[in-house]
């Protein structure tokens, strides 16, 4: 899963080897080691441990893991809660992703030459600095359904003469979370895409305007090809972030103290509920299997995305 490509260090330096260069190279390990050791100890090794433990039956701390082959995976796959979690996570990644990027693209079309665009960008970015827990609680009040004490959304609906909706009922919550995700995260992707759009030489747009191109044509033939690489990176970031969504759903769909109803689960909630959640019996082996499913899903989706997005770079 090659998320990033790093250009090799300029060859010029490799040529003029000398005392100074070797002294420089001696600096490498003292400089790089602390970060690399921490990385190895807290990310690489635990990931390997999780993979190994996913093939054991293990109730949790105090219990000894016993190898049991792929039982965790088959049981997990057959369980309702995992099916829901898997389905919802895919909905968030794909539906949320399509919505977020459609919105972001629409905004890039408009924001490029709009007055006050910078302020609009800053305002749209704001939900991204709010803690997901706080965001979940906040949205919980907005979408609250309780006749006579309606939340903001239902208040507006009733004001418009429509019926109040049970937004947070288990069957509706996935849709509400998808919409909330699109709302909350679009600012981040708009910011990234707009930074790329700002680098496009303006004469391309002027030329297109002289030729009478419509906004869609300008987007299709200038903006999209010129920002393709950044769109790819943004897509990878989206996949990574949407796949581990946890706090927002946990707080929004449930009572906050224990896991929400199965229908609203995500893979992150599945792992949490099987391990540290206060509701239900811990099953660390199954949780490890789900954690492995998460990282496998990230890898597969990112590799696929990079494949799909690959094309020759445009120099400008």
């Amino acid at each position: 899963m090659a998320t990033v490509t790093t250009p090799a260090t300029p060859p010029a330096r490799a040529v003029k080897a000398g005392a100074h260069l070797s002294r420089k190279k001696r600096l490498f390990w003292p400089f790089a080691a602390p970060a690399l050791v921490l990385y190895l100890a807290f990310l690489v090794l635990p990931t390997i441990a999780t993979v190994v433990l996913s093939f054991t039956s293990w109730a949790g701390a105090g219990d000894t893991p016993e190898p049991n082959g792929v039982t965790n995976y088959t049981q997990m796959w057959a369980s309702d809660s995992f099916q829901y979690a898997f389905r919802n996570t895919l909905i968030y990644v794909f539906l949320g992703g399509i919505g977020t990027f459609a919105l972001a693209f629409l905004f890039t079309m408009v924001l490029r030459d709009m007055k006050g665009g910078k302020i609009v960008r800053a305002i749209l970015f704001f939900p991204n600095i709010v803690a997901p827990v706080a965001l979940g609680m906040f949205l919980g009040f907005v979408f609250k359904y309780q006749p006579g004490k309606q939340g903001l959304a239902n208040y507006v609906l009733e004001g418009l003469g429509a019926d109040a909706a049970k937004f947070l009922a288990p069957s509706n919550v996935t849709g509400v979370v998808t919409a909330s995700l699109i709302w909350a995260s679009s600012g981040f992707y708009i910011t990234i895409l707009m930074a790329a759009v700002d680098r496009i030489p303006p004469y391309l747009y002027e030329d297109a305007e002289l030729g009478g191109a419509s906004p869609w044509q300008k987007f299709r033939n200038i903006t999209l090809p010129m920002t393709w690489d950044v769109v790819g990176v943004a897509g990878v970031l989206w996949t990574i972030n949407a796949l581990k969504i946890f706090e927002l759903v946990f707080v929004l769909a449930g009572p906050g103290t224990y896991a929400p109803p199965n229908e609203a689960w995500t893979l992150g909630i599945y792992v949490f509920d099987r391990t540290f959640g206060s509701n239900g019996t811990p099953d660390f082996g199954a949780a490890c299997a789900c954690a492995v499913a998460m990282i496998a899903l990230v890898s597969v989706l990112v590799v696929l995305l990079r494949r799909l997005m690959r094309r020759d770079a445009i120099q400008f």
Binding site: A35, Y39, A41, E209, S214, V230, F276, S299
Partner: protein
């Protein structure tokens, strides 16, 4: 001439600030009416207005009684002001959620963790980009892949091991915060180091500076902008971090803010203390809002550099 005198062309900013060329007026007749454009502008403005409305609602609701919150969502707060206790919700949240201790814990924990993260990551990023060691490129990629690992994947073994050595507390959390912030920070900093010109290092070397000195007196000061960005982004991320805090913090006296808010949510929901809850949300969100208002430009350039390169 000593090393410190080496002149760096455009001083602190890691990327030369380039002013966009003046936008020429559109050619006559080119601004045609376009339904897509009208739709787009409408959505942009509705969206922006919606965000402002939501912020307004949050701020006013934190001063309201539950009845006011749900029956008069757009009005200015009234009831608590009338009884002369305008900050009643904030006081309630502060006392009942244990925010007083949580603020201290969070500030110390997040502050130390971000500083240590950058202190560990900056030399690593420098080593990976500027020392010309074989294999640096692939190694950078390996570190960057770490950004894609969900916390859920590492949390189980880490919890078991750390609780065995009795580090399932704020000290263990500190180490975890540092370690798990490294991939992103190293990746971000490599972008900044790579953008520096080679000539600076060469000039420092010609002046007889040791590689160590070159790093500390020439290269590191030049990436000050990058370091501030890394500090800010990590501070926001860790301030908002909840999953690890839920798993590793058991003692209420050492909760972080987001952790305290999480517990408070369960308790206060039962008592329908909606005013207090919203005030709690505001207490967690407002410091980040201030930080964002002060540093918005830097946060956005940092993200862009991280993603755009």
């Amino acid at each position: 001439m000593s090393v410190t005198d080496v002149e760096a062309p455009p001083r602190p900013s890691p990327k030369p600030v380039r002013k966009p060329p003046r936008k020429p007026r559109p050619a006559p007749g080119s601004k045609r009416f376009s339904p897509l454009r009208v739709l787009g502008s409408t959505i942009v403005w509705l969206f922006t207005a919606g965000n402002i409305l939501v912020l307004y609602w949050l701020l006013t609701a934190s001063f309201k009684t539950p009845v006011e919150i749900f029956t008069k969502p757009f009005d200015l707060p009234y009831q608590w002001f009338k009884v002369g206790k305008p900050f009643r919700n904030f006081i309630y949240a502060w006392n009942n959620a244990g925010f007083g201790e949580a603020v201290l814990t969070t500030v110390v924990l997040v502050g130390l963790a971000t500083v240590v993260t950058v202190a560990v990551s900056a030399p690593c990023a420098y080593a990976l980009t500027r020392l010309g060691v074989r294999g640096s490129g692939p190694m950078t990629n390996v570190v960057a892949i770490g950004m894609g690992v969900p916390f859920q994947t590492v949390i189980i073994p880490l919890f078991v091991v750390l609780s065995k050595v009795h580090l399932d507390n704020e000290y263990g959390l500190f180490v975890l915060y540092v370690a798990l912030s490294i991939p992103f920070t190293v990746f971000l900093m490599t972008g900044f180091f790579r953008s520096l010109p080679d000539e600076l290092e060469e000039a420092a070397a010609l002046d007889g500076a040791s590689p160590m000195r070159t790093f500390f007196s020439v290269m590191l000061p030049l990436t000050r902008g990058g370091m501030i960005t890394a500090l800010t982004l990590n501070a926001i991320g860790l301030w908002n971090e909840t999953l690890l805090a839920i798993v590793f913090l058991k003692d209420q006296a050492h909760f972080t803010l987001s952790r305290a808010l999480f517990t408070f949510y369960g308790a206060a929901s039962y008592q329908s203390e909606y005013g207090g809850l919203i005030a709690g949300v505001a207490i967690v969100v407002l410091p980040m809002l201030v930080l964002y208002l002060v540093l918005a430009r830097r946060i956005i350039t940092g993200l862009t550099l991280g993603a755009g390169k």
